[in-house]
């Protein structure tokens, strides 16, 4: 065929550009901070991580996962065979036929991509992404045709100059998009960066069904605390940003985005890409941060992010609910990045908005966020006759009370739980005035120094006593104690109270009546569900009471945040709606008269919604009301 001489040249050129681009791109990532990864093991694990873990997420959208397997698989196969057949010129009918099959597969996949792009949902980015299906089709078709003669289907000298020129243009265009674009910032970049991101992910524990949600500690002796410039991120975080496919799944689930607050996780990740590569966001073709114009942001690897690239309000709008991380097919860690940048704002700039500074000052001076007398932690339990660890030294269950001790509404939850513990004859004790705030809020507000100080002092107290397990009614404390204290030498078995009560009920320690009220739904707290994977115990427990849950559309791992996490009520960034109101709408849509929760923060947020609205009760309260009290 006429192209025979030209084809290898073109392919070689495209591959050379691919390699040059790759080196360039890798150097952009290497501007980040060192973080050790295991190169070989990571690369070896990559295919499995792609096929299993990534597809586990992508597979929530069956259409897209099948499409991606066909297109991506077809492309990788085609490329390998193209190199063998057209570059090295291996004259093998089998290989040629295989290449035909691969391009055909890719073609079919690309057709579905094309179809999806006919009427793309708002969450998808437009711009160059709109041309991608066409590029895929051109690549598949042209290589299909030029392979036909090799496979012996068509004569070697098939076609004239016209066809040759058309094919040549097609090949150049296809190779340009697929190989040149892959490492020079085109849409196909996601394949290159994504594969490496999977290999060198900062939280490898997430693969193979694991979970890794605790924030990483800050080295308080470092020159700059937190992330000021893109180059302050770890290199593999930068790599992760680059892997984003702009699918907007994160945007679609983000409660702050839905509330019209100036945050869009997809845009944030794209702004990080702008930062690491340098330039402006003018080419961004997705939804903006609500209420903010696109095109104004500028940044570079060594420019301070919050001075021109991302407005601090964007960072402070996040509730750290992790819905975006859970949904992201590329397993990008938005929350890590947001908290990293908050750390700089709080610990270097002293710029935590609204009540942030006051809350942090209180935590430093009184170990609780509202500045209450730390000697008054046990006042709520004046009539409860609780054992205190300082007296008993040893117990089976250590009840971690949390700052709910100072809040009248939360005290009702605490009392209900104590009632259950007593009814089941559990050997338990509390720390009393020796307990401190877990550090959750301080950490999410970016003050890791205060978090670490609280954590270390709590651990020192805990390590003085003997107990088997910690149980708490506060999912935030639960998460800190269970996942974040490990870095400071605190390794405990920690249970959420719903898990524990469920155990008691299953063991027949509690006698319960059937629930007699109307329809009930359950709101999964982010820090219990997505952070710790506990979706079942609360549901089982409610089932024990004879409650048939009317589930909300967004429940379980897709639960929508109540708006209370991450210090968001403290930094209080204005939006168009309140997140708690939206969540209450979700509740109302089920027709429930009661929403069961497992978190005092969720209780406070949901009860803050104006009446009339369904009632809000903690599961401990619901169970305590159904308790059959035996008269001795």
């Amino acid at each position: 065929m006429i192209l025979d001489g030209l084809l290898p040249v073109l392919i070689t050129m495209a591959l050379a550009l691919l390699v040059i681009g790759a080196v360039r791109r890798i150097n952009l990532w290497r501007a980040g901070q060192p973080e050790s990864v295991s190169l070989i093991a990571g690369l070896m694990a990559m295919p499995r991580r792609y096929l299993v873990d990534l597809h586990h997420v992508v597979g929530r959208d069956k259409y897209m996962s099948n499409t991606h397997v066909a297109t991506g698989g077809g492309f990788v196969l085609s490329l390998a065979l193209i190199v063998l057949v057209h570059l090295f010129g291996l004259d093998s009918k089998i290989l040629a036929w295989a290449l035909l099959a691969a391009t055909a597969l890719m073609f079919v996949g690309a057709l579905f991509v094309y179809k999806r792009r006919q009427n793309p949902p708002a969450r998808l980015s437009k711009g160059p992404w709109m041309r991608l299906p066409k590029s895929l089709l051109v690549f598949a078709v042209t290589f299909f045709i030029v392979t036909l003669p090799v496979a012996g289907v068509l004569p070697e000298d098939f076609g004239g100059w016209v066809l040759a020129v058309i094919l040549l243009i097609g090949i150049a265009y296809g190779l340009g998009e697929m190989l040149f674009g892959m490492t020079w910032g085109g849409p196909m970049k996601h394949a290159f960066a994504g594969a490496l991101h999977l290999a060198f992910h900062r939280r490898p524990e997430r693969f193979g069904g694991g979970r890794s949600t605790g924030l990483k500690p800050v080295d308080l002796g470092a020159e700059v605390l937190g992330v000021a410039k893109p180059s302050d991120f770890k290199w593999n975080q930068l790599l992760g940003f680059d892997a984003c496919v702009q699918c907007g799944r994160c945007e679609a689930v983000c409660p702050a985005f839905a509330a019209g607050q100036p945050l869009n996780p997809k845009k944030l990740i794209q702004d990080m890409v702008v930062g690491l590569a340098g330039g402006s966001d003018a080419k961004y073709a997705g939804s903006p941060y609500p209420g903010r114009e696109v095109g104004q942001a500028k940044g570079g690897p060594t420019q301070v992010i919050t001075e021109g690239l991302v407005n601090p309000e964007t960072l402070w709008s996040c509730t750290t609910c992790r819905a975006c991380v859970e949904e992201c097919p590329m397993m990008i860690e938005h929350v890590d990045a947001i908290v990293d940048m908050r750390r700089f704002l709080t610990m270097e700039k002293g710029n935590t908005p609204n009540k942030g500074a006051e809350t942090l000052d209180n935590l430093i001076a009184t170990d609780n966020p509202n500045g209450f007398d730390p000697g008054g932690r046990m006042n709520w339990a004046a009539d409860q006759n609780l054992k205190v660890m300082a007296d008993v030294k040893e117990t089976d269950v250590l009840f971690w009370v949390s700052d709910g001790a100072f809040d009248m509404r939360s005290q009702r939850i605490l009392r209900a739980f104590v009632k259950l513990l007593k009814a089941a004859d559990v050997d338990f004790a509390v720390l009393g005035d020796e307990e401190r705030d877990s550090g959750d809020v301080a950490r999410r507000l970016g003050d890791d120094a205060t978090f670490q100080s609280l954590a270390k002092r709590n651990i020192a107290v805990l390590n003085r006593y003997k107990f088997n397990r910690i149980v708490t009614t506060d999912p935030h404390a639960f998460h800190c104690l269970k996942n974040e204290y490990k870095d400071f030498g605190g390794d405990y078995e920690v249970l959420h109270h719903t898990t524990f009560i469920n155990e008691l009920v299953k063991a027949g320690m509690l006698k319960l009546d059937m629930y007699k009220g109307g329809t009930v739904t359950y709101h999964d707290p982010c820090y219990l569900g997505r952070y710790n994977g506990e979706y079942d115990s609360p549901r089982e427990l409610l089932n024990e009471l004879g409650i048939e849950l009317a589930e909300m559309e967004r429940s379980g791992f897709r639960s929508r945040c109540c708006g209370g996490g991450g210090g968001a009520p403290i930094t209080d960034i204005p939006g168009e709606r309140r997140i708690a109101d939206m969540r209450m709408e979700d509740v109302k849509a089920t027709g429930a008269e009661l929403v069961a929760v497992g978190c005092q923060q969720c209780t406070a947020m949901l009860e803050g919604v104006v009446e009339p609205r369904p009632e809000v009760k903690d599961i401990a309260e619901i169970v305590a009301e159904s308790l059959v009290e035996e008269v001795h």
Binding site: L220, T346, M347, E348, G350, G356, L360, A365, T366, G371
Partner: protein, 258 residues
């Protein structure tokens, strides 16, 4: 603001009213805030007291690279050391809090310093509007949100009231990295204090307030309106002897002196 304006802020170790823990004192932090507004980083931060008090870093975290520590024993008297240091440095303005949150908390430091330096003392200021031609325009805080504008010649000592601008957040990182320089001064034992005995404070009896307001509007007025000087007496032309006599009589009447 003149570029060569020199400003020293004296800070003490505060104490949280609920936890009793050391903290950035509220008035002193406001003095630092005011100082930062006037001269920025050039402000000289001073503390006379024991060394190694980490909480001093919460003042530095407001955006200062260094501070000077005049090291004193725990029972030391801060005033002579501060007086000597300031007399030698001769700043234009010295800012302090009104009263310390811990220790003696007598509120005497600004007065004693004013006396030692021979400078005027302006109490409870809310703001310094400007400094021009060796003169500062100062706003003094009066009860009920009222302000009194004063013109004061430099140099002077001023105590900063809670009514001043709330202090900025203290940032951990810069506070940690800032330097605390030791200036060598002779420590001086507080002779008087060493003879004192400390006892928990007793609640002071409050003067009975007769509520005259009948309506909400009245109460609002009572809370906000300028206090009417009633029954007061202005002694301007009398001799010092007569003035003192009148004061003495009042103090006896009020039961302050017996």
């Amino acid at each position: 603001m003149p570029h060569d304006l020199n400003l020293a802020v004296l800070v003490s170790i505060g104490q949280h009213p609920k936890s009793g823990r050391a903290r950035r004192a509220e008035q002193d932090a406001r003095a630092v805030e005011l100082g930062l507004k006037l001269v920025g980083e050039r402000l000289e931060l001073l503390h006379a007291g024991e060394a190694q008090q980490e909480v001093l870093r919460s003042y530095l975290g407001m955006g200062l690279k260094e501070m000077t520590l005049l090291e004193q024993p725990s029972a030391g008297d801060a005033v002579p050391a501060l007086g000597r240091y300031l007399a030698q440095k001769r700043p234009d303005i010295v800012l302090t809090g009104v009263r310390a949150e811990s220790g003696e908390a007598s509120g005497m430091t600004p007065y004693l310093l004013g006396e030692a330096l021979g400078w005027p003392v302006v109490t409870r200021i809310a703001d310094i509007i400007k400094v021009e031609n060796g003169e500062a325009e100062v706003l003094q805080a009066l009860p009920r949100g009222q302000r009194r504008a004063l013109k004061v010649r430099l140099p002077f000592v001023a105590s900063v009231d809670l009514a001043a601008e709330t202090p900025r957040q203290s940032a951990y990182g810069p506070g940690r990295r800032a330097r605390i320089d030791n200036a060598s001064v002779d420590a001086q034992q507080d002779q008087l204090r060493s003879q004192w005995q400390e006892a928990p404070a007793r609640k002071r009896p409050k003067r009975l307030k007769v509520a005259k307001a009948k309506t909400a509007a009245d109460r609002f007025k009572a809370a906000t309106a300028k206090s009417q000087a009633s029954g007061g007496q202005v002694l301007q032309n009398e001799s010092a002897q007569e003035q003192a006599q009148a004061l003495f009589k009042l103090l006896v009447e009020e039961g302050v002196l017996r």
